[in-house]
């Protein structure tokens, strides 16, 4: 059975190499065919467009009868992807897995997950809340992340110089809000952290009064 696993994985890797037209690639990380790196381009017409996304792939012992383990290496701002760990919430990686699915088809499913977020079944609750509160603001942040982490289109000067990253945009907040609370004498990163956690965006802003924020900042 282990032989069958090796044969199948090798075949899948070869298939993917031969298919030049596909936007999906699979590469070896070390010498093992059971630990791979997949990558694909961000789908057009989404905030991920133009980005290059890398996925860590681990082939379990009983593959293809058990699902392949995948998580994002590239940081992604998406309700179904953990913004901290890259963990992915997708049914086919869990109970809807079928041995007929391949690394390539699974990567393509990940690609289409980027097109169609499922905020009701989130992996990252904060990101999901952001998405539900203001889709425009969410997309702006997702686009910014794509630019910063996935080499998406944007100001070239920002790339590779983390010091210049706009932490406010990273958190999907507005500069004026952050400035306002920073002016009260709080640490800027703390202000960003609290406002992000409270989902201080769009229609939520008038609902959260300043005292509540100050209370959180003082904790």
């Amino acid at each position: 059975m282990s032989d069958a696993r090796l044969r199948r994985v090798n075949k899948e890797i070869a298939d993917c190499k031969n298919d030049k037209a596909s936007s999906v690639t699979i590469d070896l990380i070390d010498n093992s065919p059971f630990h791979l790196k997949g990558s694909f381009t961000g789908p057009e017409g989404t905030p991920y467009e133009g980005g290059h996304f890398e996925v860590d792939i681990v082939i379990p012992e009983s593959y293809p009868f058990q699902p392949v383990k995948m998580k994002f290496i590239t940081k992604v701002y998406h309700p179904n992807v953990s913004s901290a760990s890259g963990a992915i919430c997708l049914d086919i990686l869990k109970d809807a897995w079928s041995p007929v699915l391949t690394l390539k088809s699974t990567l393509i499913s990940l690609q289409s997950l980027l097109c169609s977020p499922e905020p009701n079944d989130p992996q990252d609750a904060e990101v999901a809340k952001h998405y539900m509160t203001s889709k425009t603001s969410f997309e702006e942040t997702a686009r910014y992340w794509t630019m910063i982490y996935a080499g998406g289109p944007g100001k070239e000067g920002l790339k590779g110089s983390p010091g210049l990253r706009d932490e406010v945009a990273m958190a999907g907040l507005e500069k004026a809000h952050v400035d306002k609370f920073e002016a009260l004498g709080f640490d800027r990163s703390k202000v960003i952290d609290v406002l992000r956690r409270l989902n201080y965006r769009g229609a939520n802003v008038p609902k959260i009064n300043d005292d509540r924020i100050v209370e959180e900042l003082l904790k």
Binding site: A4, R8, K11, S62, F65, I92, A96, S98, P99, L101
Partner: protein, 474 residues
């Protein structure tokens, strides 16, 4: 005149030879020569253009009615349709034995010696009709054999025999036959064998090992997905070993989403007897866990799961009866004691436990529904009502009465001090704590400092409206 006919014969012989050669190369399986050299045979299987419903015809074994059937016969057939809907893609071959006269094809048609359908699926009158149709198709001067083979193979003749009919998208074939119920299994067996032959000769791409594999080493599942036997075996073995039987099914993503599970004969074909046994055991276990009427036999060495047998009227009391199929022990599903009849209640403590459990559950929850299915809804509600009444009495008793420590009768104090004398047995006791009091000095209980009832000859509430000062005794 004589000369031309001689030329004719030579040309005829040449044409006949050519025609037979062509036929042999196109349909090597269909043509053969008979024992006597001149006798030729065509054995032509019918390959229907699409899977077609085969139904008995109400016309019986009789004459082929060329006018359309009356409404009555259609109704009859519709009835039979429900009982035996056989959908076939092939029909057994039609055999034609014939001679080619020396003047064929220029002047005479072939002479059919015998015409026969395997398993006699075409009755005599239809065979005769078919024979006429075959001869009629011959056009002077032209070879007819290829046309015959195609005419039969494609099933076109079924239209002309008025056996095939198209209703909407579906076409059906209605066969008049003296014993259709005996015929149909033969037709299905033939069809299955042809399908199997086609299946094992073809190659399939197994989507698990990503290899092209001969059908003989593949399994066709009932959902019509095909996988190689060894991949399916690895997959199902793993699932069975891990006890994950919901995954023992078609591995196709669509079927996985539908949670389509494999049928027993499919599992049997793929895994070992031992694994089939475990798979069946796991399935039974799952059913038992799902069936809320299931109760384990209380006999210590038996413990067989026993389901509710028969339909009992809810609330009749009979729904509690279970008889173990293994050891024949009849018991009550509520208290798991020996069967105590439908009327006598279970020892109260048993019903109490599940009735209180039932009351606690919110309406509409799964657990509540499970309990209703297990114990019977109306019966449960009756018990709840009983329980609530009893509870109310109990609450009232414990709130407003104290039982006599001697005879246990409940005594309600309407007014006065806490020194009570039981009207039934004469026992003196404290109404507050229920302790016995010495008949000679009953008030010592209330006047000894340190005791819990010290200074509590009267209750606090009653003190509130009493004069605040002075009086030591009421």
């Amino acid at each position: 005149m004589e000369r031309t006919s001689e030329v004719d014969l030579e040309t005829c012989a040449e044409l006949q030879r050519e025609e037979w050669e062509v036929l042999e190369s196109i349909y090597p399986d269909c043509v053969s020569t008979g024992l006597s050299q001149d006798l030729l045979k065509l054995e032509v299987p019918i390959e229907l253009s699409e899977p077609t419903k085969i139904l008995p015809s109400a016309r019986g074994s009789g004459f082929v009615n060329t006018s359309s059937s009356s409404a009555d016969t259609d109704e009859d057939s519709a009835k039979q349709e429900e009982t035996s809907p056989q959908i076939l893609s092939t029909l057994p071959p039609v055999l034609i034995e014939f001679l080619l006269p020396s003047t064929y094809p220029l002047r005479d048609p072939p002479r059919i010696v015998s015409l026969h359908a395997t398993y006699s699926w075409l009755i005599g009158s239809l065979i005769a009709h078919l024979q006429r149709l075959l001869i009629e198709r011959w056009v002077e001067g032209e070879g007819i054999l290829y046309t015959w083979v195609e005419y039969i193979r494609s099933g076109e003749f079924l239209d002309e025999l008025r056996l095939k009919r198209r209703i909407g998208k579906d076409s059906t074939i209605r066969l008049p036959h003296p014993n259709f119920t005996l015929l149909i299994p033969l037709l299905s067996a033939y069809d299955a064998s042809i399908q199997l032959m086609h299946f094992s000769q073809n190659s399939y791409n197994c989507e698990i090992c990503l290899t092209s594999i001969k059908g003989a080493r593949c399994i066709l599942l009932s959902c019509s997905h095909v996988f190689c036997r060894s991949c399916l075996e690895d997959f199902w073995k793993l699932c069975i070993a891990e006890g994950d039987i919901t995954r023992v099914g078609c591995p196709d993503p669509g079927c996985v989403k539908e949670a389509r599970e494999a049928k027993e004969d499919e599992v049997r074909r793929v895994v070992t007897e031992e694994e089939v046994k475990r798979w069946k055991w796991l399935r039974e276990k799952r059913i038992l866990e799902k069936d809320p009427t299931m109760v384990h036999c209380p006999v210590p060495f038996c413990q067989t799961p026993v389901a509710m047998t028969g339909e009992y009227e809810e609330g009749s009391g009979w729904e509690r009866l279970r008889t173990c199929p293994q050891c024949d022990y009849s018991f009550c599903a509520y208290c798991k004691h020996g069967w105590h009849g439908p009327i006598s209640p279970c020892p109260i403590y048993v019903t109490d436990t599940f009735v209180t459990e039932y009351i606690k559950l919110e309406n509409g929850t799964r657990e509540k529904e499970m309990m209703e299915r297990r114990y019977g809804k109306s019966r449960l509600q009756k018990l709840v009502k009983q329980y609530e009444e009893e509870q109310a009495t109990k609450d009232w008793l414990s709130e407003s009465t104290t039982s006599c420590p001697n005879c246990r009768v409940s005594v309600e104090k309407s007014m006065g001090c806490n020194h009570m004398t039981c009207s039934k047995c004469g026992q003196h006791f404290c109404y507050r704590c229920g302790d016995r009091l010495n008949a000679a000095s009953p008030y010592k209980h209330f006047s000894t400092p340190g005791r819990s009832c010290f200074n509590k000859l009267f209750d606090q509430e009653s003190l509130e409206w009493e004069p605040m000062l002075g009086d030591e005794f009421y």
